[in-house]
């Protein structure tokens, strides 16, 4: 299953496109009003049909009613299957709907990620909200606006094109007649009209006309975040709720042979469940549930499997098990001949360690059963998929499962799977109470999936003039994101090769693109040095992609690259790197300070330029870019899972070092607003230029090339 996850994030084309027939979920008006909460009045009088597709993005096939509801108070409820985990989708999708409905963002009530209420917009991953869901919501909202305009035109017996829509009101400029969305909320005709499908070719507002998109709209529920009022998945409280803890194996692959549950069962108010390998306890407090688990853990006997590789030997392990790969489509020429003809040829291997996402909120879920129906609040990335998973796990139909994803505490690609949801549901079923399960930090570090480790073999050849004529790139294990070189090279051979990962691996912010770009951009730097060329000039000489050139030149200009490169000393180096992924482009220039005695690399400054088409929310994009840069520092310099004998050795913040305030360098971000192409997502790609730029800066200062992530300053002590 994790392999699937890898695939779909690597390649958006591989998932969420099944053309299964549209299912209808019928809710009575009463339930629907209740679900949407007090104060919301819904237009429909009979039943509401929420069109939803089983397993896949809903694209144009849903009804307008499934996306848009007019409320009597003049607000508009808009529904989406996307989740908010800090990336800014709530503000952005609110803006998208507001733009097309011609209202301010404050008039939109966005309902997100509740399988009973929202259409299936696919997984929140792969930077897909911006290129797919924003357009889907805009089309839904634009269709609604057109239908409403048509209704007004019909009522007034005029041509719809003569009417103006502004600020939630439709006006006939000639007669000064006006009708508001709130007025129309009562209309039976609207209910009837909204049964139509969302038009796939409805015109959406041109970038030059944007009034709401393009602005720094704040997150709509931000006040609840500063008051503590917002309930994250781990904060949901239900009547008579218990707290659950699970028994975890002592190492990966260990199986439970026997266990004595009697001591936990004797504890007051504790429910103990064993079902095969699953052992869990639910109790009125987490503390008590933890004590119960400790009591049974002492009696457990485990069969452990041997032969786990350790993190020390992981790269040779992955290389030995590398499968044969298929060359990528853009492979061209003959690298054998190119390398044979080369005046200079280099061959190096780069390595990237497994790392963990470490979302601030570990996996959490609350599950509640009522008359055979299951409701789960969970921190996961795709409510409809987890709905299906839970239905299968409990042998019930999906209609009996409702999954709700309250805005959650971070994910970064790490919350595609629903372990806590299933655990909570099992304990809830056995205990007859709602159950809350929140993983401990150590559990999250150990039992969540990891960003794949990578071993990447690179070969390059330069002709006598210093031009790149051959490029071989074999990426073992991380996946194929950003594997293709954007540089113009006549002979290339590029391979993505699977291996046998000893750790459970899955998506991560930009996934393989970080590893592949680290290897490529470091190796480009090595080739530039071999050619005796400036790293910026060398790249530009091989780069036709105008978008990458623009960000590279933008970053270099603001960083003052040529002058600062001349000022490099043994203690202070500068480096740069660029790249493209998910239809966006990034370049970074960094300055590092080297403490040779302490063996430390300190990043003093990062200047990054980023372009993802027309910017929809500048403040949010800035947050994403800043966040990517600093998160990238962690993987570049310190983060690494250490493991041995099937156990994680650093499952806590004491030994797994993530960036803190102290690590934050001077950051200078330049957002390039390119308005003549569609917008792409911006929450991932800004991470991929950070590590190679740092490595290149270290090399510039010290002459030492560090070819592994994390890059350890200790290597420089010997130099």
């Amino acid at each position: 299953m994790i392999e699937d996850l890898l695939d779909e994030t690597v390649d958006p084309q591989l998932s969420g496109q099944s053309d299964e027939s549209c299912q209808e979920l019928k809710l009575s008006r009463r339930t629907f009003v209740q679900l949407l909460g007090a104060g919301l009045l819904i237009t429909v009088t009979e039943g509401v049909s929420l069109g939803r597709r089983s397993g896949g993005r809903s694209r144009g096939s849903i009804t307008v009613a499934a996306r848009v509801h007019l409320n009597l108070d003049g607000t508009i409820t808009v529904m989406t299957g996307k989740v908010e985990e800090g990336q800014g989708s709530r503000a952005q999708l609110t803006q998208a709907a507001a733009e097309e409905l011609r209202v301010g963002a404050d008039r939109i009530r966005l309902v997100m990620a509740d399988t009973a209420l929202v259409p299936d917009d696919g997984i929140t991953a792969g930077s897909r909200t911006t290129p797919y869901t924003v357009p889907a919501v805009r089309r839904g909202a634009a269709t609604a606006r057109e239908l409403l305009t048509r209704l007004a035109a019909k009522q007034w017996r005029v041509d719809g094109s003569a009417l103006k829509v502004r600020d939630g009101a439709i006006t006939n400029p000639k007669t000064k007649q006006t009708i508001t969305y709130g007025d129309l909320a009562e209309s039976k005709e609207v209910a009837e009209a909204f049964k139509q499908g969302v038009s796939s070719d409805v015109a959406v507002t041109a970038v030059s006309e944007w009034k709401v998109l393009g602005n720094s709209v704040a997150r709509p529920n931000n006040r609840d975040l500063v008051t503590g009022a917002h309930r994250y998945p781990s904060d949901i409280v239900r009547p008579n709720m218990l707290y659950g803890k699970m028994l975890r194996p002592p190492s990966y692959g260990a199986t439970l042979e026997s266990i004595d549950l009697s001591r936990a069962k004797a504890m007051k108010d504790v429910v103990v469940v064993r079902d095969g390998q699953f052992v869990g306890c639910a109790a009125p407090s987490s503390f008590r549930a933890g004590q119960a688990i400790e009591a049974v853990a002492k009696t457990a006997s485990w069969k452990t499997t041997t032969a786990h590789p350790s993190s020390k030997e992981i790269f040779s392990y992955l290389k030995e098990r590398a499968r044969s790969g298929r060359s990528r489509a853009n492979t061209r020429g003959s690298t054998e001949q190119g390398l044979a003809r080369a005046a200079k040829a280099l061959s190096e291997t780069y390595e990237v360690a497994y790392i963990q996402h470490v979302p601030m909120e570990p996996r959490a879920a609350v599950a509640e059963w009522s008359r055979g129906n299951l409701t789960v609040w969970a921190g996961i990335d795709w409510p409809q998929r987890i709905q299906g998973d839970l239905a299968r796990a409990f042998g019930i139909s999906s209609e009996r499962v409702r999954v709700i994803v309250p805005d959650m505490g971070g994910g970064f690609g790490g919350k595609h799977s629903g372990e806590a949801a299933e655990e909570a549901a099992r304990l809830a079923k056995a205990s007859g109470h709602p159950v809350c399960v929140q993983w401990s930090r150590a559990e999250e570090f150990t039992w969540a999936y990891f960003r794949p480790a990578a071993a990447i073999e690179c070969k390059g050849g330069l002709d006598s003039k210093g031009s790149l004529i051959a490029w071989e790139f074999t990426s073992i294990n991380p996946g194929s994101a950003a594997i293709d070189t954007p540089y113009n090279i006549p002979n290339t051979r590029i391979l993505s090769v699977g291996s046998d990962s000893p750790l459970r691996q899955g998506p991560y912010r930009c996934l393989a693109a970080t590893a592949n770009n680290f290897a490529r951009e470091s190796f480009m730097d090595e080739l530039a040095a071999a050619a005796g060329a400036d790293p910026l000039e060398f790249r530009l000489a091989h780069l036709e992609n105008q978008r990458i050139r623009t960000v590279l030149e933008t970053a270099a200009k603001h960083f003052d690259w040529p002058a600062r490169r001349k000022r490099v000393t043994g203690d202070v180096g500068v480096g740069l790197a660029c790249g493209t992924e998910k239809n966006s482009c990034v370049a970074a220039c960094v300055e590092v300070g080297i403490d040779r005695r302490g063996g430390e690399i300190k990043v003093n400054e990062v200047c990054e330029a980023f372009e993802c088409g027309p910017i929809q929310n500048p403040a949010n994009l800035l947050s994403q870019v800043q966040g990517c840069i600093i998160m990238g520092l962690g993987g570049a310099l310190r983060e690494e899972m250490k493991f041995e004998d099937g156990r994680i050795l650093n499952a806590g913040f004491a030994d797994y070092l993530v960036p803190r305030f102290r690590d934050v360098p001077k950051i200078d971000v330049h957002l390039v607003n390119k308005t003549d192409i569609p917008s792409a997502g911006g929450g991932e790609t800004p991470i991929i230029a950070v590590a190679p730029a740092i490595g290149n800066a270290v090399f510039a200062a010290t002459g030492v090339r560090i070819r592994s992530m994390p890059m350890r300053g200790g290597l420089l002590k010997r130099a």
Binding site: T227, V237, R288, D407, M631, G652, A654
Partner: protein
Amino acid sequence: MDATVNLTVNGVKWTVTTDAERSVLEVLREELHLTGTKYGCGGGRCGTCAVLMDGKRVLSCTIPLSEADGKAITTIEGLASGDSLHPVQEAFLEEGAMQCGYCTSGMIMATVALLKEKPRPTDEEIVSWMNVNLCRCNGYPKILNAVRRAAEKMRR
């Protein structure tokens, strides 16, 4: 072992009888249902659970309930008075200093405690005070701006 503990939380007096070893964090969340204070590590290394105890910052995951007997605790829920937010909350909103927001209550409580002790903190003092608080969205630049803005607001 159960114990009976008296404590004041956001001005409200509570008497809690429960396992004395439970952390203040767990009691706030599971007994008082004040869920604004978050679990991030349970080991004193992330700051998401920060609250004020007798006016000083503490990491509530590291404090057994027994040690809170007779103490006054302020959580994120206790900062605003009615509809008007605390200046530190305002500063975080104005700077847009949150992404997922899960670290925000700990960041805000840390800032409130800092500004009580040092109304005019230098950047170095801010960084060293806040360094225990993790933000995994890595929103540190805007959080730093918010702390600076809060300091200015509170001086006014």
